[in-house]
Amino acid sequence: MPTSVLWAVDLFGRVYTLSTAGQYWELCKDAQLEFKRVSAATQCCWGIACDNQVYLYMCASDVSIRCREEAYENQRWNPMGGFCEKLLPSDRWPWSDVSGLQHRPLDGVALPSPHWEWESDWYVDENFGGEPTEKGSLTESRPWHFRGGPMPSTSPPPTRETRSGTRVCGGGSGSDTGDTSPGMPGPRSPRRMTLRICPIPSVTSPWVGGRSQRSLWAACRCGLCLCRERCGTGRMSATPTRKGHHGLWWTPPGKLSRSAVGPTTSCGSPSGRGKPWSGKGSTGITPKVWFRRGVNSHNPCGTSWIEMVGEMTMVNVGLNDQVWGISSEERAVYFRQGVTPSELSGKTWKAIVAGRESDRSHSGSSSSLLSAGCFFGDEVKGGSESAPSDTDAASESERPGPERSAPEEPLDNSRDPKGSSAVGPETGGTAECASETFCPDAGGREAAQASVGSERPLPASTAAELPWTNIDLKEPRKAPSHSATGFAETMGLSSLGLFPLGLDEPYAADDHPLWAWVSGGGCAVEAGSVLKWFSVQSGLSPSVQTLSLSISPAQTAAWRKQIFQQLTERTKRELENFRHYEQAVEQSVWVKTGSLQWWCDWKPHKWVDVRVALEQFTGHDGARDSILFIYYVVHEEKKYFHVFLNEVTALVPVLNEAKHSFALYTPERTRQRWPVRLAATTEQDMNDWLALLSLSCCESRKIRGRPSPQSIWSVTCKGDIFVSEPSPDLEAQDHLLPCDQMFWRQMGGHLRVVEANSRGVVWGIGYDHTAWVYTGGYGGGCVQGLASSTSNIYTQSDVKSICIYENQRWNPVTGYTSRGLPTDRYMWSDATGLQECTKASTKPPSLQWTWVSDWYVDFSVPGGTDQEGWQYASDFPASYHGYKTMKDFVRRRCWARKCKLVTNGPWLEVAPIALGDVSIIPESPEGPDSDDRGHNIALWAVSDKGDVLCRLGVSELNPVGSSWLHIGTDQPFASVSIGACYQVWAVARDGSAFYRGSVSPSQPAGDCWYHIPSPPKQRLMQVSVGQTSVYALDENGNLWYRGGVTPSYPQGSSWEHVSNNVRRVSVGPLDQVWVIANKVQGTHGLSRGTVCRRTGVQPREPKGQGWDYGIGGGWDHISVRANATRASRSMSQEQKAHGPVSC
């Protein structure tokens, strides 16, 4: 569960965040403005500042926001000079935007705000829509698209000039979003907002994939209710456009009377489409809390109001329907405990007594926001500059509105030096409360102001502002016009008015915070999770609590070393000269017996009860071996068969809804594609057997402890992780070890992707795109007990979506209904339509999984959907599209539901960026830096949004690395792979490949991308680069080898087809090629997802000749990139001499 934050504003207008993992409120330091309201979503937070402008805070991440500016160069052909810059008088501008309507000369394209910076110079974009345009030849282009401009037949893409600009000052922090930079008032805000803005937090449905459904609601003083739609957060959309960040326009959907948006408005958050509202009504005047009963997707109005205990000035409903409120008396933030999907009203209010970070250290440098970075008021100068024009516009548009005059706030006017501020009556309750609570000393304020004035060029009026007036009123133009205001000063400013005598210690320890507003729209607290908010604790601040992968002191401690050393000495002393002595206890055979069920391979093809016995015995050489006997009864005749555990190649847990079963493979069974399947009655029983059997297997193969750095890693479709020790002859030229004899040992954890390198750096990616790094432990998960290491095992969770389809057929009378033809598929089915899957009958994949959301419509399915998520087609099954045409008679939509698994394993999370793919440089252990455990290891990744990233600081000692370096791309990417000589290849989401030039240890990010066209009519999905070989995989399962790769021309010349029927490819440091094959036929059955090795791969024949089939049946992923184990013969020299590329 990633941490998220709760936002709150105190009475002084300071914005604080509280992490779900933390114990302290942390001040939003860069917010130089005081805020009245905040409304948070997971990736951003909207706020209304004291100047009545709307601000947007983008949570920062390692990856900056980029967007691409485009300008089009338009040329017209004429018979004399061909294409030339001379246009007809009626033509569009020679340089224009995409529509051709706007003049857009290159030097006239300005950065939207000082927070953006150009990342590169203008360049010609030769990759249009995934297909390359002809290099440099602008004139000979395809038939031009008609773009609706004034030029009928000319003008569009051939010269598509692009330029991407971004990256905020203040490195690595998030950035603003377009017209509004942080600190600038909201975009094209038609009027100033005074009321709350309440984005719809996404509980389940609102954002699905790239298509964000969120919208922002606001009420303004004149009583208009405004809705801002499609507020993607940029981070969500794959290619953040500036528009996407803050939606399109303020569209007034309807004018509401003030009473409607006033006190009785429910500020409960509509938690999205089709999701029950957990409405909490709060009244601003009588501070009672109401709960709306019976709200659900069918009845969004609910049935009745219930009054709740407790007096709150406001309540806010966050993610997972959790509720926060601010009590009216003490103005403390309360959290509603016990809110669960089944009991939305919760049980009790519990005060959050987390201290403020500033209570502990005033320096403010110790820790920052979880996602610290760029804030509302980072650039005040811009804010004050833009304020006048904006205000002018606002006043114009608001002229009909009643609120320009401010007769209703005598209280405020009396304290406001300029008296021009206005407050909406709907916030009066808060203001009143504030004034009751505070009675600041005016004289003291003056003194304080004086002292400040000497330090900073602040307008006196600003300092003279009453701090608490910020809550609801402040003169908009009075934002301090000082851009370099640091944190301490901000603190000083906001504290000065109140605590004139204690400038150094503005917050006494007993000063408990007074809150004005809280927003949990970005705070994901799961029902039942434990928070540290409710007790004041000393100790580490939350930002220090991140787990580090460094070796814990216990493992390096001298005492530990000494114990190991002394035990070895003791054994030597007491045993060495006495080995000929007789053992006091003779080793005997030990038998464990039990009852299991066994899947009978032949008639009657069902589970039958069996007795099993595991006999362990010790040979004279001390080697241990075991035999598993399985006794069954057929036709009242007792029979048995047995398995030598030293022949077992894999033990795979097969958990499903009903059975705790596991499959047992031997080389023969692997060839037959037919494992022995056994089932236990309870999970514990199965785990006991699995632990015992796997321990016996490992013992007979003398495998113990953590896997070697050269191990081969793989993942099954169930997310189970397997690892195999490579033997020297695995990649030998002459005597290859058959793949089906490889022994696979399970590691705990749940992953979708795992990638390794021969220095023991292993990274994984979960189904929820969380990145994980291997800790060096072993065991965990269902591998418990002695087969598991004591340390380095941590809790791991994963979330995945289960999808079912709702199918409908059109008929002339009623349109689309759920009544299909008799021959149709189930109206609720799986993706294939063969299985009936209803919402009620669909269960989580196994007993390990639990539902964590309700069903929601998935809008992110390939092919697109309409507004309601439907995809249309002429018939089932066909290719679906996201809009209705005349020829469409059927439609379907995808319903998804999230489920979660909690397990443990040797993995630690690498927060905060979610990944889609990762690749670590393959190295040979005898490389030049082999003794340097600290040398940097190149690691590239693609985030789940499609950003290409390069991890810095990864080494053998610090496999987690230190930070991400963002590599700019023009489009979202899907896959990346780095070869042994720092050749970085990547595949974009449009299916084309890219080569990154000039990547080296000294220039880890390289310099530029070279576009490599994909094989004809194929969209590539994955790429893998070994020492010199480059292989790619397309979406139709074809495996391609990149031919013509030489050191001088590393991009190669052409794709050469190698094989079809491939799902995943991994090319190792010896250029060995391993894949997951789609289907493999065995003697007893078909196996989907089988580990295969390319045979006959040689330096002169890098494409190999055939396939050798290994373990299979549900394998999804393999990484051989760590296996640099060579056969003892010095093959390496041979390879170096003849290889197509020498590094």
Partner: protein
């Protein structure tokens, strides 16, 4: 990096080469050859000396045989102490093999318990485990176990089956994640110089301030003489399983890894050899 699991193995498979000699006054029909054996450190004398008994009984008359007992340099060996403890306490600095004298007569009633059968050893062993778990988990873990699990612990010890024993014993070594260790550490401190057979007190693995207690903390508290000998120059060795862990070693770790199968940490305090 070596794994902590290897410590468990090393501890379990610790062996003491021993030479059994029949007491000179025992009446034999012919000369009794000494008998050489590798004794498991974690086991009990009477549990692993069937071969010794058989060997000497062959040369003796039936009527001269009563209950067997062992002696080392004049000290009768208590069978209910683990073998490793006996060796560390009495013979750690002597040359190997360990010379044990076998007696069949004049059982030293005041020094030794009778050991009529293996059931007596089992009863003693199980009572130790239960006592240890009472200290560690208020007996919760051992009480939740089934009878067959108890049996498996005993059979594991009896048959010298590391896996069999640890498959169950690991449950006894677990503790709640929110704690930093057991409730109390089951330990016994033995000193040959004192009258008391051993010291056993309640001692928590984690101090009130949250710090992990170390072996040194324990000794300073319950047996200060061991770490600060009165007679100045003469130093003591603190020995477990034939090794001397550093005093900085966390007690919880020791308890999990260096306990005997009876789940107690048997710590020997012996004078530093003079040589």
């Amino acid at each position: 990096m070596t794994d902590d699991k290897d410590v468990l193995r090393d501890v379990w498979f610790g062996r003491i080469p021993t030479c059994f000699t029949l007491y000179q006054d025992e009446i034999t029909e012919r000369e009794a050859e000494p008998y050489y054996l590798l004794l498991p450190r974690v086991s009990y004398l009477t549990l692993v000396t069937d071969k010794v008994k058989k060997h000497f009984q062959k040369v003796m008359r039936q009527e001269d045989i009563s209950e067997i007992w062992f002696e080392y340099e004049g000290t009768p060996l208590k069978w209910h102490y683990p073998i490793g403890l006996l060796f560390d306490l009495l013979a750690a600095s002597s040359a190997l093999p360990w010379n044990i004298i076998v007696h069949f007569k004049s059982f030293p009633e005041k020094d030794l318990l009778h050991c009529p059968s293996k059931d007596a050893i089992e009863a003693h062993f199980m009572s130790c485990i239960k006592e240890a778990d009472a200290l560690k988990h208020k007996s919760q873990v051992i009480n939740e176990m089934q009878k067959k699990d108890h049996k498996q612990l005993w059979m594991g010890l009896q048959n010298d089956r590391f896996d069999q024993f640890w498959a169950i014993n690991r449950k006894l070594m677990e503790y709640p994640a929110e704690e930093n260790g057991f409730r109390y550490i089951p330990f016994r401190i033995y000193q040959m110089t004192t009258e008391r057979p051993f010291i056993q007190k309640l001692f928590r693995p984690v101090a009130a301030d949250g710090q992990l207690q170390t072996l040194g903390d324990l000794l300073r508290e319950v047996c200060p003489s061991a770490v600060a000998p009165e007679d100045g120059g003469k130093k003591n060795q603190v020995m477990i399983h034939g090794i001397e862990p550093m005093l900085e070693t966390p007690l919880q770790w020791l308890s999990e890894h260096l306990s005997y199968p009876d789940n107690f940490l048997h710590i020997s305090i012996i004078p530093q050899p003079t040589d």
